[in-house]
Structure formats: C-alpha cells, structure tokens
C-alpha cells in the first residue's frame, strides 16, 4: 500500500513537471511564430534571396529580451526565409561564449558589452571582421563608435545599444527639503552634499558590492580632471596608474567617500548592490539623496520604486570639474560575428540601420548611438535628452574598465572597493593598480 502511494506521488510529480515544461516551451514557440507571421503579412518588400538559420546569444533578458525580440521581428519581416533564434544569456554570456569558442561551436552572432573582450576574441581569431558593413555603419555612427570595435584596421562589431553613464539621479523631495538645486560644477555638487547632510539626509548612495559602479564613478571624474587625451593613454596603459592624474582623480573621488556621506556608512555600502543603491534613494524616508549611475537607472526607478522619473526622481548631467567642457562617459553593447554567413551579414547590416534602433527606442529603456535615428521616437523627454547627449556627444569616451583586459578589470573592482574602505590610501591603491596593469599587459 505504502509503496503504491509513493509511486503515485512520483508519477504525479513527473507529470506536473512535464506539463510545466511543455507549457513553457509551447508558449515560447507560439509567441515567436505568431509575431513572425503577422509581420510577414504586413511587409511587402520582403527579401527572399537570403535563407538559412542563425543563432544570436545576447545579454538581454526579461523586458530587455522582449525588446530585442521585437527588433528581431523586424529582421524576420525583411528576410522571411531566415530562421533566427535568440538565446538570452544574461550574465552567463561571457561563459557561454568562452566555452563555445573553446569547444568550436560559438553562436553565429553575439552581443558583447566590452571592447576589451571583443579585442581578445578578435586576436584569438574567433571573430569574423565585418568590413563589408563599415560604409553603412559610418553613415549612421560617429567615428568614435566605429573606432571602439576596430583593431588592426579591421572592424569587428557595431554598437547597437548605448548607455550614457555621465548621469546623476536624485530624490527631488530630498533636494527640495534641503533647498538644493541640481549642481552643474563639482564644487557645487560637493557643497550640495554638505547641505543635504546638514538637512539630515545622507547625500550619496554607493552600490559598492558591484565593482562596476565604482569604476564608472572613477571614469567620470578622471575624464573631467585629466581630459580625454590622458584618458585614452590610461586606457591603453601608455601612462601608468601611478600617474599624478590618476592620484588627482582618486583625490576628488575620495571627497565623496566620507563614511557619514555614504548611505549606511562605508562597510554597509560595500554590501549594497546596484539595485539596492537605487531603491534606497527613492524610499520614504530616503536613505540617501543621490545615486551616480547611467541612464539605465531611469527604467529601474520606474519599475522598481514608487517614484517615477519626473515625479520624485530626476536626473542631472555629471558635473563639470575645474571648468571641464561637456564630456560623456558611456558604454555600449556591440553585435559581433563568430560565424560568417549571408544571413549573419544581413543581420549586422540590419542592426546598424535606424529602423532597427527605432523598434527598441520607442519601447523605452534604450539609448541609441545611431545618429540617424530621429529622436522623436523616444517615449519621454528625459530619455530623449540623455540619448541625444550620447549620440551627439563631441567628446565621448567608452567605459574605461570595459576596455581593460579582464584581469585588470577585476583588479579595478577590488582596489576601488579597498579605496572606499580607506579613502586616504591614494598611493597604495594607485600602485596596486599599476602592478595589476603591468601583469595584465605583459
């Protein structure tokens, strides 16, 4: 009797699991085919000359994944004979690509956020150059974006999704209570911090458990204190990390890191991840007034907090330091090609068009570096302002840590976290970074 019951239970469990699995799979298929079907019918100028199947591995999951699928539907409408599969890999992407290349079976195309990693793959011969598309790309992108993915004269990727990281988000109520206006210079910014402190709100929220929030802050300060030329030299390790300019930037950064200026104090900030660093600014009462991160914070505020951009939350451009001219630190996800095929080439060319960018831009949460994209497609003023700052930027520099070899990038995360613990140790941090850089660049 008992045995039977156990068997029954097991059968039920297996049945339930397989039902669940079938349900998920079925749903996916349906939505994919349904979308392809409708767009197919809608377009008249479908090109049927290209066929085959391609697989794209991408960073984008969840809502971003859905948006990218909408972009792919545009491609399907154009090339109905091509089967496109999208593999939303999220944070596992570097692992999937590295093992795919090592095992000889990478996806046809992939999105990569780090030019350093693209360079790495290109040097190992894993990537195919996309020079066939450069003409089309140059029509729509400024040279600085093309240069990002060009190594030894060959272009390996096209930046599809950009991010403006020179933005600072704040709690409007906290600013109002303290009688502070959004600052435009670094001195005003620090003064605003003091005033906020006196009003009883901790000024800065730092998500130091995720090292990249610290490197972003460093890059914004460094680009302003040292200027774009030094920034480029540091990015390629032409000047050492012990350079005076690095120490100066660290010194400015340290002004933010006093333990009573950071939400929860230093040690708590080191355990605060990026999502928490945003949400704690927009709770009531706020744990801090300001969070310094890129344009993607806007989407995050709208979806994860009670505030909305424009209602309780707003943004200003990262302040100028010592009269530095307007500059933008940004990032971008590039599409690269691992396996050459007509369908893959067509995808690269398609993604470089403003039409492809528009499909995502109007859904929000997207800044396109494509300067041919009409900025009226953005859903709101804030997104439009940040995106056009990015696409039209005279001085744009890519996220410096993403340009570094992975080992140095890791060292940057760790050493800047150590710097938060001990902001007085500028010399120690810069010499440890230099040691890591020497190792990584040998």
């Amino acid at each position: 009797m008992r045995k039977h019951r156990l068997l029954l239970l097991l059968a039920l469990l297996v049945g339930a699991l397989s039902l669940l699995a079938a349900g998920c799979g079925g749903g996916d298929d349906e939505s994919d085919e349904g979308a392809a079907g409708t767009t197919e019918a809608a377009t008249t100028e479908a090109e049927e000359s290209i066929s085959g199947s391609i697989r794209i591995a991408g960073l984008w999951t969840g809502g971003e994944g859905d948006s990218f699928k909408a972009v792919l539907d545009g491609y399907r409408a154009k090339y109905p004979d091509v089967t496109v599969t999208y593999q939303p890999a999220g944070e596992d992407l570097p692992t999937i690509l590295a093992t795919g290349v090592e095992g000889g079976n990478p996806p046809d195309l992939a999105s990569l956020s780090s030019p350093g990693v693209i360079k790495d793959f290109a040097e190992r011969g894993a990537l195919q150059p996309i020079d066939f598309a450069t003409e089309g790309i140059l029509e729509n992108y400024s040279q600085s974006f093309v240069d990002l993915t060009t190594f030894d004269g060959k272009t390996y990727g096209v930046v599809f999704k950009g991010a403006n990281k020179s933005t600072v988000w704040y709690n409007t109520q906290a600013f109002e209570d303290a009688g502070v206006e959004p600052p435009t210079t670094w001195d005003e910014f620090l003064e605003a911090g003091e005033t906020l402190k006196a009003s009883g709100v901790t000024p800065y929220s730092i998500g130091a458990a995720d090292g990249w929030t610290l490197t972003d802050l460093f890059e914004n300060v460094y680009l302003r204190t040292a200027g774009p030329e030094k920034y480029d030299q540091l990015a390629t390790h032409e000047i050492p990390w012990t350079d005076e300019s690095v120490k100066e930037a660290l010194g400015e950064m340290a002004k933010v890191f006093g333990t009573d200026s950071i939400a929860g104090g230093t040690s708590s900030a080191l355990q605060t991840d990026f999502p928490t660093s945003v949400t704690q600014v927009f709770t009531d009462p706020p744990k801090a007034a300001i969070v310094m991160e890129g344009d993607f914070v806007g989407t995050f505020i709208n979806t994860e907090t009670k505030a909305k951009v424009g209602e309780g939350a707003d943004v200003f451009t990262f302040p100028s330091i010592n009269d530095s001219p307007p500059v933008v630190v940004g990032a971008g996800d590039s599409i690269v090609m691992f396996k050459d095929s007509p369908a893959a080439r067509a995808m690269i060319e398609y993604l470089a068009t403003p039409e492809a960018a528009e499909l995502w831009a109007k859904r929000g949460g997207f800044s396109s570096p494509n300067k041919s994209l009409d900025d009226s497609v953005y859903p709101d003023d804030t997104t439009r302002k940040l995106a056009s700052e990015l696409a039209q930027a005279e001085t744009f520099r890519f996220d410096l840590s993403d340009l570094q070899p992975a080992a140095l990038n890791d060292a940057l995360f760790t050493e800047l976290a150590n710097f938060v613990k001990n902001p007085a140790d500028i010399d120690g941090v810069s010499s440890k970074l230099e040691a890591a850089a020497v190792k990584a660049y040998k």
Partner: protein, 448 residues
C-alpha cells in the same frame, strides 16, 4: 550469472572442465549490454573531460602552446589562489569536525526529547534546499543594515531592550562653538556667567527625529540671575547661516541640557527644553558655567555586525554551511545509533556507568564507522565547496573569502578566459581528493 548458465547444460556429455562457449559468450554479452550505458556516460561525461583537463593544464591559457608546468607554478605565485588554499584549510579544519559533532549531538539528543520527529525535520530541511538558494537567503540575512539583514535586526532588537536610544541619533553641532563629539556629548565652549544666553545649534537631524509639529525657535531673553538658551535645528532649506536663529528654523523640544561648573566640570543642574527649544536655569550664583548636552541624547542604536566584511566573512560562510550539513550528519548518525545493540549500553548502566561514561566509552566507539563516513563525506564536500561561497559573498569581499573551486571558476569562466590555469587548478583539486578517495575505496573493500 555464468554459473547458472553452466547448470543448464549439465546434461550434455561429460566435458565438465570446459564450460560451453555459447553460454559464456551470452553471459558476457548480457553483462556488456547492461554496462554499455554506464560506460558510455562515464566516458563522455567523466573520463574524457578528466583527461582533456589534464592535458589542457599543460597548455597556455589561449591553447596552442605547450608550456610544461608553467600553470602549476602559477598556483604558488598567484595571490588569490594562495588565499583560496588558506581558506580551504580553515574550512577543512572546522567543517568536517563541526558537522560530525553537531550531527552526533542532535542524533543523541533527539533520542530523548519529545517531538523528536519534528525536531529532526527542522534540522534536516535545509538539506532539501538548493545550496545556492541557501546562499541567497543567508546573504540577505547577513546584511549589515538592520533594516535589511535579519540577524543584525535580531541583535538590535535584543540590544534595544537593554540600552536606550537617544532622541537625536544623527545630530551634529552646526558651528565650532560646540565642542566634543556626539558620542561623548557636546558642550558650548564659551563660558557663561549668570545673565548669559546659550545658543546650541544642531544639524544633520534625520527625518524620523525631527519634531512632528515644528515650532519656530526663538532666542530667549537673558535673565539677571540665571542662564537661558535654546536648542534648535540650525538648518532651513538652502542651509541658512550657521549659528544664527533664523526664521523657519525649528526648536528642538525634550532635549536634556546640563549646567556645569566651568572650573570643576561638575554637573550642577539639568533641565529639559520647551517645544520652541528654549530652556532656563534660575537662581544661578555668580561664577563661570558651561552648558552641555549629554551623550545619552545622541546615543546611537547598535549598528550591526559587519558579517560580510573582510574579517567575518569566512566564519559567516562556515555557519551557513554547518546549518545545512548538520541535518545530513544527524540523519546518518541517527540511523547508526538505531542499529547499535542496546544491551551493551544497558549493561554499562547496570554496572554503574554514568551517562557521560556510557556515551564516551560505549556509544561513540560503536558509532565510529558511521562517524567516519560523515567525516570523509564532509571533507570531500568541503574541498569542492563552491555554490555557497559564490552566492553569499558580495564581489567586494570575493578576495578575502575565495576558495579553490571558486578560483578555478573565476580564472577560467568569469571573463578572464585563463583556461590553462583553470585546468591546472582543477587538477590540483583532484590531487587533494586522491588520499580521501583511496581511504574510501579501502573502507568499501574492507566492509565487503
């Protein structure tokens, strides 16, 4: 198998020494048929990858170049791998012994308590949760901010019963006129004679501690034979002028103000401020005095232990891991306990042995084989510990909490792509397992 096969042909003429070929072949074929799936999967998923890893470990990180033992040399120079090895040593010293002891304790105790099954289920349940999920749970519980981390919240709640929290926990003096620190109490540096007026301005008062119905602060009139003053929030939107009582600046009521002798520092009297922040000491004899706010006004609630900080991170991980594995050890030990003959214990008790003696001299020796199983399983489990470290440790603490398996992953897959080095770390880990594997195999043989 083969013996039953030979019995079926026993009737055939007397060539008994040579078993008939067809049946022998058949027996082997059946054995092979049963083994093939296992051999196939073992080859594809275990044997081939193992050898491939071994070979890979002699090649450079990007493949291609044969570098002999360079990757193995790096094991002894790479700082993070060194930390990882040190941490693994701590894990090996603490976990297997701790888990075995806890398991034994729980197993013996559950024999004597009512509700034993409920207790056993409670201890065992963590084992049914995936280690990664366990890690996520503990990471949240270990958060330092008592608003987020359950453990610190619990400590704060208990602490709150015994120590009183001040009314203005975050306040700071608004000007240099007030000296000292909030932790030690603030005092007005200037000395006052009767007729003097004390202005005690404070800022950085957090939202929850502002007066609910703010009342405009006023500078009190001087009185001839007393000292008057005001405690107020020296801040209005925009900042205002520090040290001046201005419009829109609220008084702070209910603050205890002390009057001290300027010469001796003795407290001569204390009073509490009104809603508009004003206070007065009447009938003060001629002399010099100072006005102060005691440190109890600023007493901060307990800030919480920094569980995930550099110094506590490894102990925190060990606690989480013990919590999971204690259930496993308890179940195995309890099963062993149920199997040992009770008459020996009874005999020992009849002979006048105390409970402790029975436990030490009878129960534990009889349980020794079972305890060894637990110990060895735990050693192997700890050598390859990975998921709980990955899920609990924030990236800012990765360097101090890392273990060998985590380093293997970090070096190969997290974007560093150092596959040669990663393979070498894997082989190194395998070598650490070998003695325990041999011990285990020997034990199996002995038992059979």
């Amino acid at each position: 198998m083969s013996s039953t096969g030979s019995s079926t042909v026993a009737a055939v003429p007397p060539v008994t020494e040579v078993p008939p070929p067809p049946s022998r072949w058949r027996g082997k074929a059946i054995a092979l048929a049963f083994l093939t799936p296992a051999i196939f999967f073992l080859t594809v998923w275990v044997i081939y990858p193992a050898f491939r890893t071994l070979i890979r470990s002699f090649y450079s990180d990007q493949g291609g170049n044969f570098v002999w033992f360079e990757n193995y040399e790096a094991l002894f120079t790479d700082e993070q791998v060194q930390t990882a090895i040190k941490n693994n040593v701590i894990w090996i010293l603490v976990v297997p012994a701790g888990v075995t002891a806890l398991g034994l304790l729980f197993a013996v105790l559950t024999e004597r308590v009512p509700w034993a099954s409920a207790f056993k289920v409670a201890v065992f349940v963590p084992l049914a949760v995936s280690l990664f999920a366990v890690g996520v749970i503990w990471r949240i519980m270990y958060q330092q901010d008592p608003d987020r981390g359950a453990i610190n919240a619990g400590i704060v709640a208990v602490q709150g019963i015994f120590t009183e929290q001040g009314a203005l926990t975050t306040a700071k003096p608004s000007t240099d006129d007030l000296t000292g620190s909030p932790q030690g109490g603030l005092r007005l540096e200037r000395t006052l004679a009767p007729g003097g007026v004390a202005l005690l301005g404070l800022t950085a008062i957090k939202a929850g501690e502002l007066p609910a119905e703010p009342e405009q602060a006023v500078t009190p009139q001087a009185i001839p034979d007393g000292i008057t003053g005001v405690v107020w929030r020296d801040f209005k939107p925009g900042g205002g002028t520090p040290g001046e009582v201005e419009a829109d600046e609220a008084g702070l009521g209910g603050v205890t103000v002390k009057l001290r002798s300027a010469e001796t520092g003795d407290t001569l009297g204390s009073t509490t401020t009104e809603k508009d922040g004003s206070f007065a000491f009447d009938g003060v004899p001629t002399g010099n005095y100072r006005v102060a706010i005691g440190k109890e006004t600023f007493a901060k609630p307990f800030q919480g232990f920094n569980w995930l900080g550099d110094s506590l991170i490894t102990p925190s991980l060990l606690i989480a891991f013990l919590w999971v594995q204690a259930g496993f050890a308890m179940v195995i030990t309890a099963a062993g306990l149920a199997a040992i003959p009770r008459d020996l214990q009874e005999a020992a008790r009849t002979d006048g042995g105390s409970e402790w003696q029975v436990f030490r001299r009878i129960t534990v020796p009889l349980l020794a084989p079972v305890l060894t199983v637990v110990l060895v399983t735990q050693i192997i489990g700890v050598l390859k510990v990975f998921d709980i470290v990955i899920s609990i440790v924030p990236s800012s603490g990765r360097d101090s909490a890392t273990v060998i398996a985590v380093e293997m992953y970090e070096k190969s897959f997290s974007g560093q792509n150092r596959f040669g080095f990663g393979a070498a770390i894997s082989v190194f880990m395998f070598l650490l397992f070998v003695p325990f594997l041999i011990a285990n195999i020997r034990r199996f043989r002995r038992e059979n």
